[in-house]
């Protein structure tokens, strides 16, 4: 297990690359999903309040 994590001396390079990729991809997913929920909530308010002004 330690040998696997050590990656033949390249541990820092490998795990930082994989880490940065996962973080950026998950952030994309998170913000896209959150935005969808926000849009749904805002449009719900718009239509349930009965006015079509804003």
């Amino acid at each position: 297990m330690m040998e696997f994590l050590h990656m033949g001396g390249y541990a820092g390079y490998i795990w930082s690359s994989y880490g940065i990729v996962m973080v950026v991809l998950l952030l994309n997913l998170f913000f896209s999903w959150r935005r969808h929920q926000t849009v749904l909530r805002r449009l719900k308010q718009l239509h349930s309040s009965g006015n079509n002004e804003s």
């Binding site: 990656m7 490998i14 990729v21 969808h36 239509h47």
Partner: protein, 251 residues
Amino acid sequence: MSEQNKTWLWFHRMGSPAYFYNFAGLLLPWCVIATVILMLIGLIGGLVYAPADYQQGEGFRIIYVHVPSAWMSMFVYMVMAINGAIFLIWHIKLSDIIARSSAVIGASFTFLALATGSIWGKPMWGTWWVWDARLTSELLLLFLYLGYIGLRAAIDDRRVAGKAASILALVGVINIPIIHYSVVWWNTLHQPASISKFDNPSIHIDMLIPLLCMALAFKLFYLCILLINSRSELLEQEKRTQWVKELVTSS
């Protein structure tokens, strides 16, 4: 009904925003599941089962995230540019939505290709960065994406923004073959392609399979993001219509 009619009917339906919204919503969970499975296979295959490279040792494993990111940075750009062209010529709103939904994830892939390449470059080349043709043209791609996002954000009118951004994307297409052929045209530090030589691929099969899994996983991940974003964009664009009203008030 003949096959041709069915195909036309499908296209016709996809042109209906309500139908597309529901279709995208049904497709999304399957797309997420497939992405997770493929990414797990790719990660385990790439990090555990693939043999160490004879020149680069374990360090070569960075390619399993670097190469798919780099491929996707160009693929997403082409999707954006082609949809931009369709929007400019035929004024199809869905194309504008797809283009708009692709910009941030495309920029992310480009950033990841540059970042992971840089991290790979340090131990292998002894430097984080060189101004060689491949790296410079990929950096230019990142600036094209950022310019595209900025241009859209700067123009309030959605239609005008779509047109301006599409023109920018189309002008920038010239950069794509430059990135691809940069390793052939110029004597660069970046190594030439090993995968696209399908007649004689210069990569071991145990190294290749995880790479193809990762590439497909990245493509599916992009599809997930595209589905979520285009649903949001569609709701925004159609917010006054009856179907959106029914959708948001019924849930």
